[in-house]
């Protein structure tokens, strides 16, 4: 039971002071995701501008892992072109579902590599992915809506 691997200092830091927290305007899509197992929730907004993730704002209630991973998500994806953001999302999901066998790429995931240890705790993977799944859902909706308007 490698608690240190799970609760990296970086994770605890993000948990104590989450980045980009709070709900902000403008946004094109807002979603509400729930982890049915434990009831953790996140409301997350995405603002898309010129093919770039202009903002990610959120109101989250949850454990250290889910809070920190949403904070890292916002750090990583704000200001990034949508395609590239999906690529980063993909890498993070792969890391989480890799049963601890996937070597994370710090170039791409930055603070996100701190979650490598979470992959060894199957019950916590859903926590780490809560914000990321919400982001993907919101971004797809935002883009679809924008396209519909064109």
């Amino acid at each position: 039971m490698d608690l240190q691997a799970l609760y990296q200092e970086i994770i605890l830091d993000h948990y104590k002071s989450p980045h980009h927290a709070g709900l902000r305007e403008p946004y094109e899509a807002e979603v509400h995701h729930v982890n049915p197992t434990c009831g953790d929730e996140v409301t997350l907004r995405v603002h898309v501008e010129d093919g770039v993730i202009g903002d990610i704002s959120y109101d989250a209630e949850g454990c250290s892992i889910s809070q920190a991973s949403t904070s890292v998500l916002a750090d990583l994806l704000i200001g990034i072109p949508i395609d590239q953001a999906h690529g980063i999302h993909q890498k993070f999901v792969e890391l989480m579902q890799g049963r601890g066998q996937v070597e994370p790429d710090e170039e791409i995931l930055e603070d996100g590599i701190a979650f490598a240890g979470v992959a060894k705790f199957p019950a916590r993977i859903k926590c780490a992915l809560l914000g990321w799944m919400a982001w993907k859902d919101a971004t797809v909706r935002a883009v679809t809506d924008l396209e519909a308007k064109i």
Binding site: M1, V34, P36, G39, P122, A123, R124
Partner: protein, 428 residues
């Protein structure tokens, strides 16, 4: 009784070692009254269980037991993983495209009721309402009749059915006027538990989908005996039951195309099937949880996974071949008996291994009683298929049924026992 030359010989399946298989089933070595060995010919009713299945459940209770999907602790984790791994295994066994399409129920009956009830509660495309028709057959098990009677009656819809030919096959001659634009659902048995008849599913599925009807297949007798590939089959929903496939009691399976399952409303309400609950209203979890309210049959799912492992290690193609060989042998020997009439196909063509029969002048209860005194377990009664019995003008019948552990010697014992029965009741 001595085997004479005119008697068809039993043709064993190469590489299929029945004795070795039998050694895995503790009950098969038990003795009955009068120190007689057990000749278990009632597998279509429920199958026996190999040590591997029993041990898997015991091990879980002794080492891992914990509730699933709810706890973060080590036991909870291990239990959840074992339960979900069972789902993955069962999905693979029937070649389901996605494990989340595998819903655990308590038996096949619940699986069929799940479908009938959710279709009655659905709104939109799938709703079965007034003027709609549901089609079944005259050879269904009660569990694939009553749910549809209840549904059609509650919703003002109409229940129709295919009749049977004298040989006990489905009479599909009028298929285009039975399955029509009014048909919303067609629910048919794959292999009849009474007549042994195998349904020509391809024809039925093609016609049903032509008119846009959902196809439900009761595979309770098929999955234990045949290699099943639900993806190739093309049906929309398939139900089967654990206890007939060397698995435990208390577990059944509903497989459904996710498109259909996603569109249906929930079945039972409660823990685990929710996304969120407020006093005012609730929302539902995605598949498969949406259809699994409350603590599921956890250890039973794990037992069923062990059953699937057991059958897969032997190979379902071989299980099917053995069943066919034993059935062919039994039919040929039973056809020799005067005063014995087989209900259903008399030859082992498009036929499962359940053989229901009449012995003139002796009631099935009495046949099975005499056989039982010889240690031979068969079933007497209507086998939950009263309409099929009525079709053949009888109230009940005696049924012998086989499985991977059945030997030709057991068939010989049956033939011998029937001979004694005739003598006892002074028939012919």
């Amino acid at each position: 009784m001595t085997t004479t030359e005119t008697v068809a010989a039993f043709a064993p399946v190469t590489g299929f070692d029945v004795e070795r298989i039998r050694a895995d089933f503790p009950i098969l070595s038990r003795r009955l009254d009068g120190d007689r060995p057990l000749v278990y010919l009632d597998s279509a009713n429920t199958s026996q269980k190999p040590r591997q299945v029993i041990d898997a459940m015991t091990a879980h209770y002794e080492q891992i037991n914990s509730n699933v999907g709810r706890a973060v602790h080590q036991l909870g984790d291990a239990s959840t993983q074992a339960y979900e791994a069972a789902r993955v295994k069962i999905a693979a066994f029937i070649n389901a495209p996605d494990p989340s399409e595998v819903i655990f129920t308590k038996n096949a009956s619940e699986a069929l009721n799940l479908v009938a009830n959710t279709l009655s509660w659905a709104r939109g495309d799938y709703e079965v309402g007034a003027g709609d028709e549901v089609v079944i057959t005259e050879m269904e098990h009660h569990s694939n009749i009553v749910p549809w009677q209840l549904l059609t009656e509650r919703k003002g819809a109409t229940l129709r059915w295919f009749g049977l030919t004298d040989e006990g096959r489905l009479d599909l001659s009028q298929i285009d006027s039975v399955i029509t634009d009014r048909t919303k659902v067609v629910s048919v048995v794959w292999v009849s538990n009474m007549l042994g008849t195998v349904t020509p599913l391809e024809t039925i599925i093609r016609r049903s989908h032509e008119v846009g009807a959902l196809v439900v297949v009761d595979a309770s007798q098929a999955v234990p005996q045949l290699p099943v590939d639900v993806t190739a089959l093309g049906a929309d929903l398939v139900a089967f039951t654990g206890h007939k496939m060397v698995g435990p009691t208390g577990i059944g399976v509903l497989w459904g195309r996710s498109e259909v399952l996603d569109a249906l409303p929930p079945f039972l309400g409660g823990g685990s099937m929710i996304e969120t609950v407020k006093m005012e209203a609730s929302t539902w979890a995605p598949l498969p949880a949406k259809f699994e309210a409350g603590t599921p049959p956890i250890v039973e799912a794990i037992g069923l996974a062990a059953a699937v492992d057991y059958l897969s290690a032997i190979g379902m193609d071989r299980v099917a071949q053995h069943e066919h060989a034993i059935t062919a042998y039994a039919l040929s020997r039973m056809n020799e008996i005067d005063a014995l009439t087989i209900l259903g196909p008399a030859e082992a063509v498009d036929r499962g291994g359940a053989i229901s029969f009449e012995l003139e002048g002796v009631h099935p209860h009495d046949v099975s009683q005499i056989l039982d005194s010889l240690g031979i377990a068969v079933r007497a009664g209507h086998h939950c298929a009263k309409p099929a019995h009525k079709r053949f003008g009888v109230q009940s019948s005696t049924r012998a049924s086989f499985y991977l552990y059945t030997t030709s010697g057991e068939v010989d014992a049956l033939i011998d026992g029937l001979d004694q029965t005739k003598r006892f009741f002074k028939v012919a």
